[in-house]
């Protein structure tokens, strides 16, 4: 669509700008200020330059949680994106069943994140939870509170349970937008199911999949509440992800300086990744 050039449009954007600037720019500036000082209390702070950044960049605890974070976000994407596509392909296309499955699938998305943690905390326990009890009575030794592998498995399963629906609903809407004529043509050509998926459905899903990957990457990259409730980051540090390490530093130990430096590095990573995604999306839009 052709847009007219008009700088007065700024007036319409101004409220959003002011509102978000208040909540984004002031805190961000504060974080930058904290990150170069050693702060004891309101009145005694010493300028330390880039000291905290150096410390943070060379802190093995942070390397570990960064590594865990990337493994976690990677596994989340690897499982949820294909599974979401599969679920979307299986969803009924019309009628009451379509609405019903849509609503049922959306339920996990609307549960407060700490309740999601609570649900799985209960569900996975061997004494009172169906899942933990079931696994143990099948003879599998499962305890998410003491075994790191089990904890990982539970956190991952919880995330799949929580968020695959989002990918599925995105793909579902993408699939609904494919005109029936495409399928008819494919039927005339006697295309196999795989061919239909590969050459008709998948290309049409590209846009929604980018949004799905973007949202899933971002949200899994800042995951905090669910694993915090479920495992508290343990056993040991095995399920402590970036956000939790950060909150521990800032609030638990009150290490404001290092926590702020860490925040900014975290933010820079997110900024780079979101810029890459955003550029990809806008350039795809342009090519259309």
């Amino acid at each position: 669509m052709n847009k007219t050039e008009n700088n007065k449009a700024w007036l319409l954007v101004l409220p959003v700008f002011l509102l978000v600037a208040f909540s984004a720019i002031i805190p961000l500036m504060t974080v930058v200020n904290y990150s170069v000082q050693d702060i004891f209390d309101q009145n005694s702070a010493y300028f330390v330059g880039a000291e905290w950044y150096k410390e943070v960049l060379q802190d093995p605890r942070l390397h570990d949680s960064l590594l865990r974070q990337f493994i976690f976000s990677g596994s989340v994407l690897l499982i949820e994106i294909p599974l979401g596509i599969l679920v979307a392909l299986m969803m009924p296309t019309r009628g009451a069943m379509a609405s019903l499955s849509l609503i049922l699938l959306a339920i996990p998305l609307l549960i407060p994140w700490n309740v999601v943690g609570t649900i799985w905390q209960i569900f996975g326990r061997a004494d009172i939870g169906l899942f933990g009890w079931g696994l143990n009575s099948l003879g599998i030794d499962y305890n998410y509170a003491s075994n790191p592998m089990d904890a990982w498995f539970t956190v991952l399963l919880m995330d799949v349970w929580h968020w695959t629906s989002l990918v599925a609903l995105l793909c579902y809407s993408g699939l609904r937008a494919i005109p029936e004529a495409f399928y008819q043509a494919a039927r005339i050509d006697r295309a196999s199911k795989w061919a239909i998926f590969r050459f008709i459905q998948l290309p049409r899903l590209k846009n929604v999949l980018i949004i799905g990957v973007l949202l899933r990457f971002m949200d899994s990259f800042m995951i905090y509440t669910e694993p915090f409730v479920l495992t508290g980051g343990g056993p040991g540090n095995s399920t402590t992800f970036l956000s939790q390490t950060l909150t521990q530093m800032a609030i638990g130990q009150f290490d404001l300086g290092p926590a702020a430096a860490f925040s900014l590095i975290y933010f820079l990573i997110v900024l780079l990744v979101s810029w890459l995604f955003f550029t990809t999306i806008t350039h795809l839009d342009k090519r259309k």
């Binding site: 002031i26 504060t30 200020n33 170069v36 309101q42 330059g49 950044y53 960049l57």
Partner: protein, 90 residues
Amino acid sequence: MSWMAWTQTTAVFFGVIACMLIAMTVWELRCPSTERRGFLPIETSRGDRLFIGLLSSAYIHLMFLGLTELSLWIALAVSAVWLAIVLRWG
């Protein structure tokens, strides 16, 4: 304001960023730029190149801090040169 814990260095830092943004806005109003293709793999406008330059400068600084013992002034010099290159030929 005191809770924001301002220091001279960070004030200068944000001042410079703000000046850059204002300068870019004025420049853009005086003579609007068009998107073009430089050595970067995508078409960019002037503002995009400034953003790319600044973001990569931040990473250059982090790399100097994390991987070397060199002074940050060197990183700053490298970044300034890099920013100029990106703005001109990117």
